[in-house]
Symmetry: C2
Subunit: 328 residues, 2 copies
């Protein structure tokens, strides 16, 4: 089949773009991520090409309450991985809740020690305004960073909303940070976190109370059955000085080996790709119906009919689906 000049140049452009991303070209990587974040149609074609080159990285999620030192730990951990050679990608999820708005710029500034390292790629993503949640976009960003040659991808999230938890589930390994002196933190986290944390880190361990937090955590872990048979280690760190960072890296490596041996990693990857596949399906089919199932009217004209109670939304949606031509 003949292709128009524009189509060919589009395809060639895509291939060229893919090649550049895979070669680690920072501008090409940045453009690819923005394309995904903005939901541009070309992102889909690009991801098809990049997917074949992706899949090699160890994805590590780092979560915890605000102020426990996640950014500093991520920065030091990235530097530690870099010492041995691997390329590192960092995805920092900004806690821009609909109530507070705006990103915590301080965190980005603190990671500046990595800014000149060409083996590290740092990207912030805001939790706000992602249609269908942040996790799908973050998932695709991991694919891009993997294709770009990252051996380790660190995802930093604030452990609060569903969005952040979904992002944490993208990781092969999840690390939870605590600090002494936050009172009943261990009590507050309770069962939910015991499930998602593979490694616990007590940061700012030079502060009084670190031992007590460790004891409480140990006690709680000893009575909580671990779903995969893994007992999460507890590592104490002072991220600002780098104390304990190596031990964190070792604990992560230990879990990686355990996960690969026991099939935990494989199971988690099934869960995360299942979620991605379904969200992708949901989004694409929706776009199709909205483009093709509305007939002569705009979506706002339909909404108007509903608000004025001339039509009920439930029958209306059935009509739209039929009009889009889905076989029943």
């Amino acid at each position: 089949m003949l292709k128009s000049a524009k189509q060919v140049s589009g395809l060639e452009g895509l291939n060229d773009w893919t090649t550049k991303v895979c070669a680690g070209d920072r501008r090409a990587i940045g453009r690819a991520i923005s394309t995904i974040e903005n939901g541009e149609p070309v992102g889909n074609a690009l991801l098809k090409l990049l997917f074949a080159k992706a899949g090699g990285a160890e994805v590590i999620g780092v979560t915890g309450s605000p102020g426990v030192g996640k950014s500093t730990l991520v920065e030091k951990l990235a530097a530690e991985y870099r010492r041995a050679g691997p390329q590192v990608g960092i995805i920092a999820v900004d806690p821009s809740s609909p109530f507070s708005g705006g990103a915590v710029l301080g965190d980005r500034v603190r990671m500046q020690s990595l800014a000149t390292d060409q083996g590290v790629y740092i990207r912030s993503m805001a939790t706000r305004g992602h249609l269908g949640g942040l996790a799908p976009a973050a998932h695709d960003v991991v694919t891009i960073l993997e294709a770009a040659g990252c051996d380790v991808v660190l995802i930093e999230t604030v452990g609060v909303g569903q969005d952040e938890v979904d992002v944490a589930r993208l990781a092969d390994t999840t690390l939870l940070l605590l600090v002494p002196g936050m009172g009943d933190d261990v009590q507050t986290f309770k069962a939910g976190v015991m499930e998602i944390a593979d490694v616990f880190v007590i940061n700012k361990a030079d502060r009084p109370g670190a031992d007590r937090v460790e004891q409480e955590l140990s006690a709680m872990l000893s009575i909580t059955p671990q779903p995969d048979g893994w007992l999460p280690p507890i590592v104490k760190t002072v991220a600002t000085t780098g104390l304990g960072i190596r031990s964190v890296q070792e604990a992560l490596g230990e879990f990686r080996r355990f996960g690969e041996q026991e099939g935990v990693t494989q199971r988690r990857r099934m869960v995360k790709w299942r979620a991605r596949l379904l969200s992708l399906l949901r989004q694409r089919i929706f776009e199709k119906v909205v483009t093709e199932g509305l007939g002569e009217k705009t979506i706002d004209e339909y909404v108007q009919e509903v608000v004025e109670r001339r039509r009920d939304p439930y029958s209306l949606v059935e009509e739209m689906i039929q009009r889009a031509g889905v076989r029943c």
Copy 2:
């Protein structure tokens, strides 16, 4: 067209159920809400019938941080509305985050003063595990409560996650609770809340610092342009003793009249029904494709192919959509 006995009895059953809901039968209402919460297919048919009877209530959202006294205020406000006759529905969204798990039972216990009042219907909804978020389900619960004759529906949410904010957007009027002594609360809320709050309530106003919170709030409101031209009033209450509850009710009434006059209410209803229509469309079409677009394989077989990198998810989804018969 002839109908089978089962279909007729199904339809008759539905009509009977609808009649009972509209008559305020508490068991029928409870069953209807559970049906929606569980996503049972019959819920769709029921909502089509109930929609025609719904739409009459004033929907008031009550939000604020944990511990500011939302439940107590809602309880007292409900009692105040009841004094004048209206039927009141209360939807309490439980802050069962994926991290903490479980509902705050204390809140439900505190509302027990309303438990014997047949003119009040209280329902808790957990934020956890709702496919596509809590807001769509809460939206349908409002429809049920309206059909059941509620003139006022109070929705209590904790102002944290996206889920709760989406629920707050179901309201015609949103009330935000603050308390003195929470330090920089006014600073923390910032711009985001100025947009969603129509009425501010400083609860526990008998505590020191209430005047300062009021001043800070006034100052902030005076420099923040209000999108609809409404300057949110600030009301001081001591919900436990009932002090100020009448003033809250008056402020709500004032906003209602303003909103109706200025078209604010109409605009908000457009926004909320638009969201509901789109989420309904997204969900229904998705169900259809998952039932019909998978061909011979299960979804897990596809996921396996993706995890093993034999297929990329982006092309796979396109195939599924085509197989489901959506015209391209």
